[in-house]
Amino acid sequence: MEKHMAVCPYCGAGCKLNLLVENDQIVGSEGLDGLTNQGELCLKGMCGYDFVNDTKILTPRLYHPMLRREKGGKLERVTWDEALDFTASKLMEIKEKYGPDAIMTTGSSRGTGNESNLAMQRFTRACLGTNNIDNCART
């Protein structure tokens, strides 16, 4: 069994834990002596790891890019190239037609981490040219 150090992805307490991994599946978690948690975990830190394994209890994980070619149509799988080309050309088209402030993005205050938020805000500001970025801090 492998152990990988992580920080709990749930509340803002920032509890440190080890993820226990077998055959590329997360099979458990154990508290580490972190600054705030001192080895303790709550129920979410202790039992909140198996969503990563795609349990499909509530809803499935996403594995591949998908595209709805026309409004009202169904989502279908596409290649990364097609998904990104489509998104990029649509964003450029909207920026051209309505200006950069017609586009809005979000950061994510969840499991993705600070680096992705840094990348998204740079993308929004430097590439799209707008400050229309926000996160769900209010809800």
Binding site: C42, L43, M46, T55, K56, I57
Partner: protein, 178 residues
């Protein structure tokens, strides 16, 4: 070996249900039933998980016509294969700490097939006898609010209380005490 049981300190309990999660996690193995053996109860001033006391003269064991519940070295243990699901134990237990789960009680959870339940199963605290380090709930509680009480702990508490009571005797001594 004397009897043991798990009990909660209602002042340290924060009602977070981590004990219940620890219990379910421990029992989430094939052949077992993934349900909490202790249940958080809240009143206006008390929060505490309620769980089997492993009574020395256990009413649940006395009520079972099949001997599915029995005394095993100070612990009320379960012989699952003998349970007929008559629920006499549920009625008899003064703590509400025994449950009977039937097969329809364990449904599919999304796409996930949970451990299969026997036809009728007794769900109650087994003190995690097969777990190294003792009951999972006690280990899980983040405030240290659960205590595994054993003979030694009971004796220690008794000694403390008797000592405090003895001190109080000083007030009605017939002759002055130094």
């Amino acid at each position: 070996m004397g009897s043991k049981f798990v009990v909660a300190d209602p002042g340290l309990c924060i009602g977070c249900q981590t004990c219940m999660a620890g219990c379910v996690l421990k029992h989430s193995v094939p052949g077992d039933v993934p349900r909490p053996r202790l249940n958080l109860i809240t009143t206006l001033s008390v929060s505490a998980p309620i769980v089997c006391h492993h009574c020395a003269d256990a009413p649940c064991a006395a009520a079972c016509p099949q001997g599915a519940l029995y005394q095993d070295e100070g612990r009320v243990a379960i012989r699952q294969e003998r349970c007929i699901g008559c629920r006499s134990c549920v009625l008899a237990c003064p703590y509400g700490a025994v449950e009977i789960v039937t097969e329809e009680g364990s449904a599919l959870l999304g796409g996930l097939r949970l451990a299969t339940t026997p036809r009728a199963a007794i769900i109650k605290c087994d003190l995690c006898v097969d777990r190294e380090g003792g009951p999972a709930c006690v280990a899980a509680c983040p405030t240290g609010g659960l205590l595994l009480v054993d003979e030694e702990e009971l004796e220690r508490r008794q000694r403390e209380k008797r000592r405090a009571a003895a001190e109080a005797h000083a007030s009605f001594s017939s002759v002055p005490l130094n």
